[in-house]
């Protein structure tokens, strides 16, 4: 249950989409270019209403596709505007080419992204295949457990993106967060505006006194240097995200980190998960703790950049870990989050924990406390040595035979 932590905060009942649109209203970017797609439609629909009603001074560009939405957002950002967009699944997929360009040109675009399964088969429900596919595009990725986090993450993302000179996407799980009415604490407009501040780009294409070329061809002689800069920018973004979180906590009172540790201090078994399922898992962890089982949860908030050093340290003393992916990479190997967690552990020389991989919830398939309790049960057996850790991916709640 969300309670007010900010003296001037206000509790409101809003869906994830409504609250992301609310954050956009308060941020009041110069330009929003978007194309509607379920389940993210409402975000830009509500925002376009704010524009039509004259509540915000933002320019709204109704484009003919997501490729154009990202293109227009890139152009606006390059021109010196604070630019935002919103999309989901197929929309994100259609933006693909332009995602890499936004990152490569180092444009601090912020995108509200609602996680949804990718076709085929066509499915409109929540899983994280869409943004997981974009994990190497050079975008910062911030995932939200609930509407409160979606709201707070949107506000922080603007500052993070502009400081890191990297585009950032803030995600919610399709329908589970996007369409679920929750109590959210919102902050006064002027306080949000003050927090995000005014955007002053170092250079912009509309500054005709200092003309420059953006997006020029770079072959064997220069491309590599700029790609190194991008990768380095992503590495440096970790500190920026931490600074912005600290600022945010000082201003509004809510604490954020690269990931959240829930009962991890003495945990012997732990789940690593992203998004709304963390909320479900917390209920199970609490129940297990009441029974004296040392269960913990590590919820990834920032997946890109991936906080590998910290994670290796925090998971070093856990006996058995289940990494739960709401996306399958169809790679013949493990799912995305598992791959990164195990890489982090191995690189840090942490070999003790037994780490297994689960894939769950594709296409919005239910994941409930029973499923998660079964995972912890399995981890308990692995930790005690009663069972050997399985290799390969175990799929939760899917009919295989």
């Amino acid at each position: 249950m969300i309670k007010t932590v900010y003296s001037k905060g206000k509790l409101v009942a809003k869906t994830g989409n409504e609250v992301m649109a609310e954050a956009m209203r308060q941020i009041e970017p110069d330009v929003v270019a978007a194309y509607p797609i379920t389940p993210a439609t409402e975000i830009v629909q509500i925002f376009s209403q704010f524009v039509a009603d004259g509540i915000v001074k933002s320019e709204y560009v109704a484009v003919e596709s997501e490729h154009s939405a990202m293109s227009a957002t890139i152009a606006a950002a390059a021109a010196g505007a604070r630019a935002m967009t919103g999309t989901s699944a197929q929309g994100l997929a259609l933006m693909w080419e332009m995602l890499y360009i936004a990152a490569g040109l180092r444009l601090p675009i912020v995108m509200a992204e609602v996680n949804r399964a990718l076709s085929a088969p066509i499915n409109i429900h929540g899983d994280q295949s869409d943004t997981m596919g974009a994990r190497d595009s050079g975008w910062i990725q911030i995932y939200s457990e609930n509407s409160q986090e979606a709201y707070d993450n949107m506000i922080q993302a603007v500052k993070i993106a502009e400081k890191a000179k990297l585009p950032a996407m803030v995600t919610t799980d399709g329908f589970i967060i996007s369409h679920c009415m929750e109590v959210v604490e919102t902050y006064p407009d002027e306080d949000v505006k003050k927090f995000v501040g005014e955007y002053k780009p170092e250079r912009s294409l509309l500054d005709t006194k200092k003309p420059y070329t953006l997006g020029s061809i770079e072959l064997q002689d220069y491309y590599f240097e700029h790609r190194w800069q991008l990768a380095e920018g992503m590495r440096n973004a970790k500190n920026i995200i931490a600074e912005v979180a600290k600022d945010f906590e000082k201003t509004f009172g809510r604490k954020y980190d690269m990931y959240e540790k829930y009962m991890m201090d003495d945990a012997e078994i732990a789940i690593v998960v992203i998004g709304s399922t963390a909320g479900t898992a917390k209920v199970v962890v609490k129940e297990l703790r009441e029974k004296g089982i040392k269960a913990g949860l590590l919820k990834i908030r920032v997946f890109r950049p991936f906080p590998f050093e910290m994670i290796a340290k925090d998971l070093a003393n856990v006996k058995a870990i289940a990494v739960m992916d709401r996306a399958d990479s169809c790679s013949g190997t493990y799912a995305p989050l598992y791959s990164d967690v195990v890489t982090a552990l191995f690189a840090a020389g942490v070999m003790a924990p037994k780490v297994v991989n689960y894939v769950y919830g594709l296409g919005g398939r239910e994941i409930n406390t029973d499923h998660i309790a079964a995972v912890y049960d399995k981890l308990g057996k692995i930790a005690s040595g009663a069972e050997k850790p399985f290799t390969g991916i175990e799929y939760i709640n899917v009919r295989i035979k």
Partner: protein
């Protein structure tokens, strides 16, 4: 960057982020050696209609004001002309004020 300075390679630390390049660098990049055909401007036939100038995709038709401050053709920028032949094709003069010749290396 000045002409012929292209050989100095900047490092990632020296480059502005995001592939930003100072404006006008195309001027430093000599593309004239791509040419297989060369346009020849025949001054005596030219009526200075500027159709070649507006048609040239590489801004390689050189113009300048004459003594009456009228813009006239003064020649061809062979450093940047890629020899596409649009100027010669578009020239409305009978017998052509620009003709294409094979480039001799």
């Amino acid at each position: 960057m000045k002409k012929n300075d292209c050989k100095i390679k900047l490092s990632a630390a020296q480059l502005p982020a995001g592939g930003i390049v100072e404006a006008g660098t195309a001027n430093d990049f000599i593309t004239g050696d791509w040419r297989s055909e060369r346009p020849i401007w025949h001054k005596d036939k030219c009526i200075h209609c500027l159709i070649c100038w507006i048609s040239c995709p590489d801004s390689s038709i050189l113009v300048a004001p004459d003594e009456k401050k009228t813009t006239v053709i003064t020649g061809i920028d062979y450093d940047h002309c890629k020899g596409c032949g649009i100027c010669a094709n578009e020239c409305p003069v009978k017998g052509k004020a620009i003709t294409m010749e094979e480039e001799k290396k």
